[in-house]
């Protein structure tokens, strides 16, 4: 395991922000850390970085125990928590020089490389105080990559970015993953995790709701949406096959329940009846966000309150 959490718990006064959380991130994973706002994601990341002390439990990064061996663990990690913060009166290049020194990176070429990777070479000498939110996010990623860490932890890296910026960052994360870097990506966007991660955990109220390969996190639905040249006749045909009550109308599509074998039979029968089939789409694509909300809602039943310091607080 590159990163593991064992019974990680953080209680602020009487608020349980993280509740006996267990995690396991394998080498090469692009691991999604998914949860609604206030689920305890940022507090967990703070504990991984050693910024916050766990009330109980601990984190292991490549066999270095955090908080005990925090400095050794941090040599292998790059990343940021919430919005990356830099010195506004210095240029991006100077900020990276300053931060690089802390990891013994003094090579100017490496600074150029990471600025290039995140698309900031033209603004490298501008003061960071003049940067947009999106540019600061990019600089945060550049800083995370600077010392070529084995594990990169990104806390909502696409938050506040425009669509193109989101696409670029997700592409970059995919590239990092395919290059063998382990990435721990926190997000509250299910589709984002689906696009870039191979494994994920969903947490709510500081507890794990579900963990596993991203494909397995999808709801196991056997419904399909069908669009044909004659929807009325198609409804009759499908009704004969799976029962009229198993066929519904949804936004112009027919939604029919049935296993993979039944779907093959549906298509064959429609074609036999001379009905043109325009599209057959798995219906669960529409239900992912609802599924996520359902999972996190059901975990609310007996869970405690969430991360009280998500938007900053007293040190």
């Amino acid at each position: 395991m590159v990163l593991a959490a064992h019974g990680l718990t953080k209680i602020f006064d009487r608020l349980v922000a993280v509740d006996h959380l267990d995690l396991g991130v394998r080498r090469g994973d692009v691991f999604g850390f998914l949860g609604p706002n206030g689920a305890g994601k940022t507090t967990t990341i703070r504990m991984i970085f050693g910024l916050v002390y766990p009330t109980s439990g601990h984190v292991e990064v490549l066999d270095h125990r955090v908080p005990r061996d925090r400095r050794e663990a941090l040599r292998h990690i790059g990343g940021f928590v919430e919005v990356p913060a830099f010195y506004g009166n210095m240029s991006a290049r100077r900020n990276l020089r300053l931060m690089g020194r802390l990891n013994d990176v003094t090579d100017e070429k490496r600074i150029e490389e990471v600025l290039d990777v995140v698309g900031l070479p033209d603004r490298a000498d501008s003061k960071v105080g003049d940067y947009s939110h999106g540019m600061k996010q990019r600089l945060g990623i550049a800083n995370a990559l600077l010392h070529r860490p084995e594990l990169i932890i990104l806390d909502e890296p696409t938050s506040g970015l425009d669509p193109q910026g989101m696409k670029d960052v997700r592409e970059l994360i995919r590239e990092l993953g395919s290059g063998g870097t382990t990435v721990f990506l926190s997000s509250h966007l299910l589709h984002e995790i689906e696009q870039v991660c191979n494994r994920a955990v969903i947490i709510n109220k500081g507890r794990v709701v579900v963990e596993g390969p991203v494909a397995d996190l999808r709801p196991t639905s056997s419904s399909v949406k069908v669009l044909t040249t004659d929807q009325d006749r198609a409804r009759e045909v499908l009704g004969q096959l799976v029962g009229p009550q198993a066929v519904a109308n949804e936004e112009g599509y027919l939604v029919a329940e049935g296993s993979d074998e039944v779907v093959h039979e549906m298509v064959r029968r429609l074609v036999e009846e001379g009905i043109g089939v325009d599209a057959v789409i798995p219906a669960h694509e529409q239900g992912l966000e609802d599924y996520f909300l359902g999972l996190t809602r059901s975990s609310d039943v007996d869970a405690g309150p969430a991360d009280p310091h998500k938007n900053g607080g007293a040190r």
Partner: protein, 277 residues
């Protein structure tokens, strides 16, 4: 060393660094202007016996001798401006970084928290000492140009050689510098408890002022040895005919105790604190 170098880099790109230094240098310049253009005040060692009025005494003496202008300057600056600059230098360190969020960017790198506190403390100290050097240099330059350089007069009357006078002035500056390092240490400690640099700065300044007031009330005489502010003027003993080292020694002991206790407490507090900004 890496941390120290990084802290120095940050210090030198901040505008407030230069504002503080300019403020420190402005006061002696104004003082010299006042000395040069005001009507002559009673001069010489007449007021020397009155230690409480030592600032006035140095002020009067400086009008005859540019070499005494640096002493008049620190006698004036020690009461408020130096503690203010020292409070700012210490208070802006950790709390200022917490305020801007950069402290977490710093701490996700493999740095020791104790090392971060000590490097920030050291840079604040370097900033203050550089400020004192600037004050002394400005005072010597302008003072000697306007009032000349003669054998410095003592508060108790009589004079010493220029070389000996320079040596005593250096000791006086080191002593005051150490007193202001106490203020920095307290401000660094305060800045580990808050993420507002203004709160840390003002908190420290209020503590210094309270100590000064308590020290001036005879009812609280029994507290005098424990208040570092009561020892801040002990350097003036260096300019008596026969130097009484005991008040200076007591001051150094008090300063040392404050510095060590505050700095160790700051390291311990920061070591154990949750960084939530």
């Amino acid at each position: 060393m890496t941390l120290l170098r990084s802290e120095l880099t940050k210090l030198l790109v901040q505008k407030r660094t230069y504002v503080g230094w300019i403020g420190l240098v402005t006061i002696p310049l104004l003082m010299v202007v006042a000395l040069n253009f005001a009507s002559p005040a009673p001069r010489g060692g007449d007021a020397a016996a009155n230690t409480a009025g030592a600032a006035n005494s140095f002020f009067s003496l400086a009008a005859d001798n540019g070499l005494l202008v640096p002493l008049a300057a620190i006698a004036v600056l020690t009461s408020f401006l130096l503690p203010l600059v020292a409070s700012m230098a210490g208070g802006f360190q950790l709390a200022g970084e917490a305020e801007s969020g950069t402290i977490k960017t710093w701490l996700v790198h493999p740095v020791s928290r104790g090392g971060v506190v000590l490097s920030k403390w050291a840079v604040a100290v370097a900033y203050l000492l550089a400020g004192l050097v600037l004050v002394a240099a400005t005072c010597y330059a302008v003072g000697v140009a306007l009032f000349g350089a003669h054998d410095p007069a003592l508060l108790s009357g009589g004079t010493v050689s220029i070389a000996h006078g320079l040596w005593l002035t250096l000791l006086a500056y080191l002593y005051v510098g150490l007193g202001m390092i106490v203020v920095i240490s307290l401000a660094v400690l305060f800045s580990t408890f808050t993420d507002s640099s203004l709160t840390a700065t003002i908190g420290t300044l209020v503590l210094v002022i309270v100590m000064q007031i308590v020290g001036s009330l005879s009812y609280f005489d029994f507290l005098q040895p424990c208040l570092f502010t009561s020892h801040l003027d002990a350097w003036q003993n260096l300019f008596q005919g026969s130097i009484d080292w005991w008040p200076i020694g007591k001051g150094l002991l008090a300063f040392g105790a404050y510095i060590v206790v505050s700095t160790v407490a700051a390291c311990c507090a920061f070591q154990r604190s949750d960084v939530l900004v």
